[in-house]
Amino acid sequence: MARIITERLIVSLLVILGSLVLVFCILYLLPGDPVLSMIDPSSMTPEAIANLRNQLGLNEPFYVQFGHYVFSMLHGDFGKSLLNSEPVLPKILKHLPATLALTLASTLISTVLGVGLGVLSAIHRNRLIDVVARIVGLFGISMPTFWSGILLILIFSVSLGWFPAMGSKGLITLVLPSLALGFVGAGFIVRMVRNSMLEVINEHFIVTLRAKGVSEKIVMYRHALRNALIPAITIIGIHIGDLLAGTVVIETVFSRQGIGRILADAIMSKDLPVVQGVVFFSAIIYVLVNLLVDISYVFIDPRVRRTQ
C-alpha cells in the first residue's frame, strides 16, 4: 500500500511540474504584448515602453525567463501582478478559501443528491422516483451554470427574497452558487451511480446473496452500493477538477470573490504572473484530488490492493 501511494505521489509531482512548463510555454507563445495591455501606448514614449519591458524581464531569451520563473516559483515567489504590482501569492491565498468553500459545498450537494437519487432510481427502476432522478440528471448536465445561476437568483433572491443574490460573506451567500454548481455534478453522478448499480444488481454474487436469504437492504446498501461507488468516486474526482473551471462562471454570476474571478480578470488583462499563479494552484488542487481518489479506491475495493 505504501508503495502505491509513493508511486502516485511521484506521478503527481511530475504532473505539477509538467503543468508548470506547459503554462509557461503557452503564455510565452501567446500573441499580444503584455506591456501594451498595461498602458495606453499613445500616452508613453517608446523609450519609456522599452524601459518597462526591460524592467519586467521581457527582453530576456526564453530559457532565461523560464529559469527565473521556475526558480522563483520553487522559492514561493510567484511574482507581482503587472496591473497593480500586487504580489501574486498572497493574492491567491486570500481568495482561495472562498473558492474552496464553494467547491466543497457544491461537491457535497452533488454527492448527496447524485448518489442518493442514483441508488433510489436503480432500486426502483422504471418507477416514478426513477423518472424524477433521470430528469434531474438530464437537467443537471444540460443546464449551463450561468443560466441556472441567474434562474436561482430570479427565484430565490428577487422574487422570494430568501437568499442574497451576490457576495461571498457568510454561509448564506454560499447556498445559491453551490446549488447551481452542485446540480451539474449531481446530474453526472446520478447517471453514473444508477448505471453501475443496475449492472451490479444483476451480478451473480448479488443473486447468491439474495438466494442465501440476506435482507434486501443489506444486499443493496452494503454489497451493491459499495461496488457501484468506485465509478461514482471517479466521477466526483473529475468533477472537482471541473469545478475549478466552473467557479470562473459562477463566481462572476454571483459576484463572489475567488480564484476563478482572479483568473478570468487576469486573462482578460493579460496579467501573466497572475494567470501562471492561479493555473499552477489549480494544477496542484487537481492533482491532490486525483491522488485522494486513487487512494480511496484502495480502501473501498480490496481487489485494487491485490492487483497492485
Binding site: P31, L36, D40, F146, S157, F254
Partner: protein
Amino acid sequence: MIIGLTGCGSTNNGNGKSAEPGKQEAKQAAVVGGDLTYALATSPDSLDPHRSGLAVAVRVLRTIYDSLVVQLPDGSIKPWLATEWTTAPDGLSYTFKLRKDVKFHDGTPFTAEAVKFSYDRILDPATKAANSVALIKPYKSSEIIDDYTIKINLETPSRAFLGNLSQALLGIVSPTSAKKFGDQFGKNPVGSGPFTFVKWEENATIQVKRNPDYAWAPELVENKGKSYLDQITFSIVPEEATRIGSVQSKQVLAGETVPPQNIVSLKSDTSVQVHQVNTTGLPYTLFINQRKTPWNDVKARQALQAAIDVDAIVKTLYLGTYPRSWSPLTPGVIGYDASLENGIKPDVAKANKLLDELGWVKGTDGVRVKDGKKLTLHYVDGSPNREKRNDIAVIIQQQLKQIGVVVEVEITKDTANVVYTKGDYDIYGNSQVNTDPNALYAFYHTGDPKARPTLPGLADPQVDKWLEQGAIEPDDKKRVDLYKQVQKAIIDQAVIIPIYVFPYTVAASKTVKGLKFDPLGYPLFNDTFIQK
C-alpha cells in the same frame, strides 16, 4: 438627525431622455446617515487617478479626490480647489489662486506644492500614468508663486486644458501619501474629497466614508459641506442580471449600467427609479479606414453611409433607450451641430448607384466585383460584446449584403495590435468620453507620421486648419463655428458612421434621493441621502 436641504438632485424616471442636471424635484429634507450600497459593473483597476485606465474607477475616484476647477453642464468652468485664475495673453500659462482651508484626508494641508506634485507626477514615467497623460496635454511645468498661488505653463495654448483639469483623472492627490505608498497608492488612495477611503476587498467591495471636514464642494452640487451619507459601499457585480436583481431584491440600493431590456421593464417597478444620463464626448462611431481601397473614395464611403440603417440598428438593439447619434460629437459638447440631425436617410438605391459608378459590378452571387476582386469589408470590433457592439456588426453585415458588400467581422481583444499597429481594418468602432470638442483633434487631424495613426486616416488640410484654430480660439462664438464646420465636413465626406450616444444608467431604490451626475455622466454623491 434631519436638516434642511436646499434642493435635490435631478432624477428622471425612465422616460428615456437624459436627466436635465439642475432640474429639481420638490424640495425635501435630507436625512443624515446611512450606507449607500452601489453596484458597479466592473472592478476599478486602481484608485490612483493618475494611473487608472478605466472609466469605472472614476465613479469611486470622484468621491475621494477633488479637482482644481469644475465644469458645469453649460460648459462653463467654475472654481473648486482654485478660487480664481488668470490666463496669460499668449494663452501659454494660467495662474491659479488656491483655497486656503483645504486639507487632505491624511492631514496634509492643500497648497500649491500639492498641485505641482500631482501634475508633475503624471508626466513622470515612473508613475506609469495611464489616461491622465493624454488628458493633461499640453502641460509643461508648474511654478509655485507662493503657498496658495501657482502658475501652470503650457507647451501650446489650449482651450480644452481648463476643462480637462476638471476631470477626476487629473484629481489632486496628497503628496505625503503618494510618496509614502509609491506604486501601491492606488490601493491606499488619499485625496481631499467628500469621502475618505476605508478599504478595498478585491472583486468584492470598495468602501469610502464621510470626510467630516469637507466644506469645499464645487458649484455642481448643492451641499457644500460634508456628505449626508455615512458611507458608500461600492460592490463589484459584473453579471448584469445579478446587478439588477440585487437592486430589486434590495441587497443594494443602486446599481449602474442597466441593460436596455431592464430599463423598459423597471419602469413598471414601483420601488425602483431609473436615472439615465447621456454621456458626452465622441459617440460610438464607426470609423472608415481611408487608407484602404475602395474606402479612400468618398463615393464608396457615401454608399456605406446610405446603406447602413442606423435607426433600425439602434431601435432593434436598444429598444429605444439609447439615442441615435448624427455627428462626430454628442449633444452636450460645446459646439455640437444639431442641424446635422435627421440629415441622412437610408437609401439602398443610392448606395447601389454609387458603387455602380465606381465600377464595382454585382456578380451572379450578388457580390460586387471589380478587376476580379470581390468587394469585402473587414469589420473589426473589440470583444466582449460591450453595449451589444458585436450585434451592431452582425446587423451591418446583413444590411451591406443588400448592396453587394461582403462584411468579414473580426472580434478581437487585441485591437492594440490589429487596429493601431497593423491598421488591418476597413471599419472599426470606438467612442470617447469628453466635454471639449478638441477631442476631435486626436481622431480627425492629419496625424504626425511618428505618432499613432488616426482611426479614419483623414488627411484634409481644411479640417486640420479648423481643428488647429479650435484648439486655441479664445472667442467662444468663433470656436463653436469652427467645430460646426468640422462636424459638417466629416459627415459630408462620410468619414464615419455615428451610431449611438451611450447613456449612463442607474437603477436605484426609490428611497435614494439626490443622486447627481457630472457633465461626463459620472455620479456625484455629495447631495445623496437615503430616505427612511
